[in-house]
Symmetry: C2
Subunit: 305 residues, 2 copies
């Protein structure tokens, strides 16, 4: 045994990352595995998670295990109702993993877990009411209300990416049209760049924009403008203290936040009568989801709120 | 003295209505006054409120006074920051009224007050997490979280009507464009009817639609469809147990809710994986705001939560 803490697992589209997290949010160790194809049986994905967690359990004193996944997780934090890049459908993941690992296990939506981590240890430390928007391939979202993650009736609160921003707009994987994530996400960024003649995507696009490439910068401008529109909608509804922007695309920092703040300051309802909430980049980087899942699991297991 | 309770005042665009409300939400007496023109000095509006309240105070044992107004009220429920149809700008209304009336006074946004009334005595009695949309000239909105009105940083949470649903769409009084209330409100309803050749508006339009007039029904269909779109956005963000539709336009009932439910069931994210929240008409009618304001004031004055 070289350390103690909770294990947080981030189940992403390409990687399964397990980390050991102490109660100050510090990551002590990690184990990576490759995510099985989305066509793989649920049990195989489970095997990969168990393997990654066991690697850490064999080396440390583990109290509890939290799993963050991009998908709909029920409000009891036990079942994954649907995960777009995995084969889970109404999967009792927490129960199964708990049985196999012999530890208490909790599952959460990855954006909920990331916001919890930012609230405990990062950009939302001082906020009781905050919103998180994670810009990856799509949009993830989460709400903090009075210092707790707000889950809603089905555990599906915070699906901001599927608010319609363009009537009859681009078809979305969710079955709707004109969803915000079709205009404001890594996928949208690459599309805007492609439409302007660039072949770049992901971090390459960020690097090019930071180096001053006009096509790449233009794509960030466009996504940033849509970020402002959608954040304006979220603020109109929720009037939070703070909006935290995370996910891979947020690595572009001000390239993205500048146009967002500018479109927000032009359109937000009641802007002359309100204190504007801060719009800031996440602080914890790509491990936020795993750190938050670990902390949520530790608190649930130890009875902390 | 013929009764006891709290007084609730609804300050509308045309009428100031004060009611005496007992702790079961029953209205025992009322006093109506005409709302002064929006150009009138704030003090004159205050005089009218004081007059209406005094009419009730002279006849009953009054514990506290609550005022509901269409506008931005600060989160301490003391000041009206802005009211579109009145001259108040950062007006310390609660303090002034309290001084003149000699009773504790609290101010709230009218949709917050209406949702509170529906939660205590009406359609949201059994819900802890609910959303209210009031369709009047514009859209009012409010959120109930864990059995309490959620106010946000500035007391401006629930301004759903100013979420953008059409990029570059119709200009809105708020300074934005394409706001939801431009497509889903009494004003939008009359416009849709006018564009289809009808001169009717307000209750006349509702009556015509209920009598089967195709132009009037078409206008309700259109507004109902936009209601579904916007409610879908609110549900994606908040996943509430219940959505209550109130305000004058909601008198049309199923004429409005039917098309809304149908557009909602076609587009709501994760509809195959979620329990759909009920979409229902408010139960308390036009006095909901005054009843809720009275109950909020009574509870604040007596220390009830």
């Amino acid at each position: 045994m070289t350390g103690a803490g909770a294990v947080g697992v981030d189940v992403g589209g390409s990687k399964v990352v397990a980390v050991l997290v102490d109660d100050s949010g510090v990551v002590g160790d990690r184990a990576n595995r490759v995510t099985p194809e989305r066509t793989t049986r649920p049990r195989v994905v489970e095997d990969v998670i168990v393997e990654a967690v066991r690697a850490l359990v064999s080396r440390h004193d583990v109290q509890a295990v939290g799993v963050g996944a991009a998908g709909f997780v029920d409000r009891s934090q036990q079942r994954v109702m649907f995960a777009p890049h995995l084969s889970w459908r109404d999967e009792p993941l927490a129960g199964r993993l708990s049985q196999r690992l012999g530890h208490p296990v909790l599952v959460d939506n990855d954006a909920n877990a990331a916001l919890w981590a930012e609230h405990r240890f990062g950009a939302a430390r001082r906020a009781g009411n905050a919103v998180m928007i994670t810009l990856g391939t799509g949009i993830g979202g989460a709400l903090l209300v009075d210092g707790a993650i707000y889950r809603g009736l089905n555990g599906m609160a915070g699906e901001f990416g599927h608010m319609q921003v363009v009537p009859g707009g681009r078809p979305c994987e969710c079955g709707g049209t004109g969803c915000w994530e079709q205009y404001c996400s890594g996928k949208a960024l690459a599309r805007f760049a492609r439409e302007a003649g660039s072949e770049l995507a992901g971090p390459d696009l960020t690097n090019a924009a930071q180096a001053g490439d006009p096509v790449a910068s233009g794509a960030f401008d466009e996504v940033g403008r849509w970020l402002g529109v959608g954040v304006g909608n979220v603020i109109a509804a929720l009037d939070p203290e703070l909006v935290v922007i995370g996910g891979g695309v947020s690595a572009a920092g001000e390239l993205l936040l500048d146009p967002a703040r500018s479109s927000l300051s032009e359109t937000l309802v009641g802007r002359r009568f309100r204190e504007m909430p801060a719009l800031v980049a996440a602080e914890l980087g790509p491990l936020a989801g795993a750190i938050g899942a670990a902390d949520l699991a530790r608190r649930a297991a130890t009875g902390a709120r």
